[in-house]
Each structure stands twice: as structure tokens, then as C-alpha cells.
């Protein structure tokens, strides 16, 4: 049952998205993100779930010709982050993202995590060092790297690199964190680590995660949205979606009959 006492952190209202080639990738999506909850987006490849996720940090702005229509309202300030007057950089300062493949920068472990702070013009060395340590602890990586913070990030394993990317995203105290299939390039143990991490992170922030892995959605998320061909087919709390889906299509996808 949906918990009515939880506040809504962000919500999309009649959100449409068009790629530069004119393809309408999202069709009038209305969906809330509850604060301190994990919302999972599931659906077959090409259904628009990553497109939807990347609207939240205006990632589509990087490529000319893409067009948003509709709103994504962020609470409590009621800002429509898609509005033309809103600086995408400001949006990304509040909403951070972890990618499908770990993408550390060609820098040391320390500098990778400090990147967001440096970009925000933080000059105080003490503050940066404290934040980096806190973020690495938050990403359960501190114990593994505390003795080699000046090593290149590429020397870490894939799972460690992904946790480094989480630490990097965490260091700037974001309100929402987006995960775009964060474990699809990782082995089962690293995957379990990341999932555990996500469950802990929601104490502090709101999470939206795209996943191809149905078990993962069932394990980590509080709410699940099933998307198909750019439409939001069904949304609800994860238990309900996985045990008593109202739509036949959702049930077929979840049970593996399709997709």
C-alpha cells in the first residue's frame, strides 16, 4: 500500500520527449518520486526508461536538437527543472547520476571524488578532504582505498570503480541520485555490494534507478514503474507490482513471458 505520509521529492507532469530526429521517446509521463525512497524503472530495451531518467539531470541538453515538453517539478521549491530559464548546471548540482559503465576520470582516486567540489569552486583543502572521506565511506570504499588515495582510479576493479563513481556523485550532497543500470557491467558480488549501498543511501536522498534486472527491482526498490514504448504502463509500490499487477502486459513482462 502506498504510504501517504511520504513527501514527493519530484514528479513528472505530462512529460514528452523528442529526440533530434523527431522520435517521440516519452509519451505524457506522469510519475512521482517519493522522498527517501527508491523508485525502479523497468521495461524492455528501447522503452524509454533511460531517456526518462536522463531528463531529470537534463543530460539530453548535451546533444543539440533534443526537446522536452511538459514538466518535472522538484519539491519543496516547486521548480520546473525543464523550464528554459533553468540552468541545467544548477539542476545537475542538485541531482547527480551514476552511469551504466563505471566512468572514472583520468585522475587519482581522491581527485575523482573531489571533482564535484572543485567544479563548485570549493577551495578549502580541509573541507575537500573531509568530504572526500565522508563520500568514500558512504560508498563503502574507504577501507579499500584509504592507503592509496593518490593512485589512478583506473587501477581499481570494475566494482570498485562503480563505487568510486557513487562516491563522486555523493560528495556534493545531492538531493536525488539517478542510477542508470548501475550494475549491468558488474559481477554478482559487486552487484550485491551496490544494491546494499543503494538501500543505505536512501536514508539521505531520493533514488531513481533504471534496471534490466527484475530481481534487482524487486530487491531494492520501494516503488516500481513499468514502461513500454515510451509510455508509463503501470506504477505502484514494488510489492503490488510484483505480486498483483493490474495490467496483463506488466505481468507478462515480470514473469518473463515477454521482453
Amino acid at each position: 500500500m502506498m504510504n501517504t505520509t511520504t513527501a514527493i521529492k519530484a514528479e513528472s507532469r505530462n512529460l514528452d520527449f523528442f529526440y533530434s530526429n523527431g522520435h517521440r521517446a516519452l509519451k505524457s509521463i506522469n510519475m512521482p518520486l517519493y522522498e527517501n525512497k527508491i523508485t525502479a524503472l523497468i521495461g524492455p530495451s528501447g522503452c524509454g526508461k533511460s531517456t526518462f531518467l536522463r531528463c531529470f539531470n537534463r543530460m539530453h541538453d548535451l546533444y543539440p536538437g533534443n526537446k522536452y515538453q511538459g514538466q518535472i517539478i522538484m519539491h519543496p521549491d516547486n521548480t520546473n527543472i525543464l523550464e528554459a530559464g533553468v540552468d541545467p548546471i544548477e539542476v545537475r548540482m542538485r541531482i547527480s547520476m551514476v552511469f551504466q559503465k563505471p566512468n572514472p576520470f583520468p585522475k587519482t582516486i581522491f581527485e575523482n571524488v573531489a571533482y564535484g567540489l572543485r567544479v563548485r569552486d570549493e577551495k578549502n583543502k580541509r573541507t575537500i578532504a573531509d568530504k572526500v572521506e565522508e563520500a568514500l565511506k558512504g560508498a563503502a570504499l574507504w577501507n579499500e582505498v584509504k592507503d592509496r588515495l593518490n593512485d589512478l582510479a583506473f587501477n581499481l576493479s570494475g566494482g570498485q570503480q562503480q563505487r568510486l563513481c557513487i562516491a563522486r556523485a555523493l560528495a556534493t550532497d545531492p538531493e536525488i541520485m539517478l542510477f542508470d543500470e548501475p550494475t549491468s557491467a558488474l559481477d554478482p558480488i559487486a552487484t550485491a555490494n551496490i544494491e546494499e549501498l543503494m538501500s543505505g543511501l536512501k536514508e539521505k536522498l531520493t533514488i531513481l534507478v533504471v534496471t534490466h534486472n527484475m530481481q534487482q527491482a524487486a530487491r531494492v526498490s520501494d516503488y516500481t514503474a513499468y514502461m513500454y514504448l515510451g509510455e508509463l504502463m503501470e506504477y505502484g509500490d514494488t510489492d503490488t507490482i510484483f505480486t498483483r499487477p493490474t495490467r496483463k502486459e506488466t505481468e507478462d513482462y515480470i514473469t518473463g513471458k515477454f521482453g
Binding site: N57, F99, F105, K107, V119, F154, A169, T172
Partner: protein
């Protein structure tokens, strides 16, 4: 001895264990005689064709290697004759280079100084402009701007260097003389500046390729952290492309050190031991051109001196390339 003994025993024990299986194999003919279908059999014609092609490819590859070795061999051979008359000490420590004079001196340093000075001036121009140009083209220019700018930039490479030489002598030098009236007509500053402009496309083009090869996912990672375009270009893309950018610099250095016409025309022909770019001085290449254009008897000391000078030039370029190789290895792309 012991090893082979153990090995033999091992083989024996395996053979014993496998004997029943082997019996089956040898006794049932269907398991060993397989007839190859004619379509799978080796095709003799195709085989020969493949070998011929491989041989031709190998010849093409070897021709470059062979030429290099031939050049080095001739350089060494002719220089050997030169160093029979001139001691290495005089060659490397002498402060005068006048092999064609009655009172001949064979100190290579003036030529080396000229080469280094013109190259440094050229690099001082080309490295910043080329790098900034590459960053602009790769990270800031729109697709359309890039498609127009890059070919034009690469067109500069096609301009004959003699044209650049006279551009330096007849246009840039008079221009500079308006600022520094004391500047001589032949000077390394003008030659170096024009050479720098000439090299910009090399750096811009190679460095831009390196930066564009940086995966988009890395840029997205930076933007997602709230970085601006400028921060992304400078703090993420450029470090990620270091190896390629260094390669571009090395290419530029080799080009500057080996450049001939611009310096021969605009920097003068007078060996002059100085690192002051406002003076005129001959470079190694300018000297080689000068001597090669005259009619020196074969095997004379003056004739041999150009090979000694050429050898020094070769060693310098090789040295820069080796340094470049080491730096590239250190910063090789790891994404």
C-alpha cells in the same frame, strides 16, 4: 635425467589407462579415416594467391624500414670519413663552423644553436595556438564549424614551405622591423614565428583527433557532476587525451627541427653561436641546403661535413621521438 624419468613414467601410466580407448580408436576405422569434403580441402590456387599477396604486403612494409636503414648507413659511412679528419671533441665543442673556408673550423654547436632557437620560437607559437585550437574544435565548435574549419586548417599543410619562407622574409620581417628597427633582414625570430604558424595545423589536427577519441561517457560523467563545458574540456578531456596530445607535440618538434626552406630563406646562412632569436643564424638544415646547392667535389671534407651535420640532425629527431615514446607510454589511454 630425473625429469625425463618422471615424464616417461607419467606417459606410461597414462597410456595404460587410455589403452582400452586407444584400442577402440585403432580398431574402428570410421573413427580415424575421415574423408575431407572437396569444398573444405586446401585450395592450391587460393593458397598461392594468399602467399603472393602476403609477400607484396611485406615488401611494402619493408621498403620503408630498408630506406631508413640505408639512410642511416650512408650517414654513418660518410660521417666516418669526416671524423677521420675532424676529432669528435672539436666537432662538439668548437664554437665556429666554417668548413668551406681556407681556415676551416668544424664546431657544430652554432648550427645546433640555430636549429634549437628557431624550433623554440616555432613551438612557442604552435603549441599554445595548436592546443587551444584543438580544444576549441573538439569541445566547443559546432559540427558545422568543425567540418568547415578542419579541412581549411589541413590545407595549410599543403602550402609549399618555400612560400612560407618568402612570406617570413618579405612580409613578417619588415613588419617586425617596424617594432624593432634594429632587427636584421635575416633573423631567427621571423623564421621561427612563420614556422610556428606552419606547424599549428599538425598539432591542432593530431591533438583534436586524440581529444575526440575520448569516450562520450567520460564527458557525460563530468557534465553530470555539474561541470561546465570549459571545466570538462580542461579537467577531464585534455588529461584523458594526454598521450595523443604529446604525440602531436613530438610531431611538431620533429617538424620544426627538420624544417629547411623557411629557415634557409629567412634566418640567414651565417653560422652564429647564439640563442638570441633577433639575430640571424644558419640551422643544420640550412647549412645542408647551402652546401648541397654549391658544387663541392665528392668525398671532400666540405661534402662529408653535410653528412656529419645530417647525422646530428637525425640523432636530435630520434632523441625527441624516443622521449615522446616514453611520455606516451606513461600517459597512455586507460579508459
Amino acid at each position: 635425467m630425473t625429469a625425463s624419468f618422471i615424464g616417461n613414467t607419467l606417459i606410461k601410466s597414462i597410456t595404460l589407462k587410455l589403452k582400452p580407448l586407444m584400442d577402440i580408436a585403432t580398431n574402428s576405422p570410421s573413427l580415424i579415416t575421415t574423408t575431407i569434403s572437396p569444398r573444405l580441402a586446401k585450395n592450391l590456387r587460393r593458397d598461392i594467391k594468399g602467399r603472393v599477396i602476403e609477400f607484396i604486403l611485406m615488401l611494402a612494409a619493408l621498403s620503408a624500414v630498408f630506406t631508413t636503414f640505408a639512410i642511416v648507413a650512408i650517414l654513418l659511412y660518410e660521417s666516418f670519413g669526416f671524423f677521420k679528419t675532424v676529432s669528435l671533441v672539436e666537432f662538439f665543442t668548437g664554437k665556429e663552423w666554417t668548413p668551406l673556408f681556407e681556415d676551416a673550423h668544424y664546431g657544430i654547436m652554432p648550427l645546433v644553436a640555430g636549429t634549437l632557437t628557431t624550433s623554440m620560437v616555432a613551438l612557442a607559437v604552435a603549441v599554445p595556438i595548436g592546443t587551444i585550437g584543438a580544444i576549441y574544435l573538439s569541445e566547443f565548435a559546432s559540427h558545422k564549424t568543425r567540418e568547415i574549419t578542419k579541412p581549411i586548417l589541413e590545407l595549410l599543410v599543403g602550402v609549399p614551405t618555400i612560400a612560407f619562407g618568402y612570406f617570413a622574409l618579405l612580409f613578417v620581417t619588415p613588419l617586425l622591423q617596424k617594432i624593432y628597427p634594429d632587427l636584421p633582414g635575416f633573423n631567427m625570430l621571423s623564421a621561427g614565428l612563420v614556422m610556428g604558424v606552419m606547424i599549428v595545423p599538425y598539432i591542432a589536427s593530431v591533438a583534436e583527433d586524440a581529444m575526440r577519441a575520448v569516450p562520450m561517457s567520460m564527458r557525460e560523467g563530468s557534465y553530470a557532476m555539474g561541470a561546465t563545458r570549459f571545466q570538462t574540456a580542461l579537467r577531464v578531456v585534455t588529461p584523458a587525451a594526454t598521450s595523443g596530445i604529446v604525440a602531436a607535440y613530438i610531431l611538431a618538434i620533429s617538424r620544426a627541427v627538420g624544417e629547411t626552406m623557411v629557415v634557409a630563406v629567412a634566418a640567414g646562412q651565417q653560422p652564429n653561436l647564439t640563442f638570441n632569436p633577433t639575430e640571424g643564424a644558419a640551422t643544420i638544415t640550412a647549412y645542408i641546403v647551402q652546401v648541397a646547392m654549391g658544387d663541392l667535389p665528392h668525398a671532400s671534407i666540405g661534402y662529408q661535413s653535410i653528412f656529419a651535420a645530417g647525422l646530428v640532425l637525425f640523432a636530435m629527431t630520434l632523441g625527441f621521438n624516443i622521449i615522446g615514446h616514453i611520455v606516451r607510454k606513461k600517459y597512455r589511454e586507460q579508459y
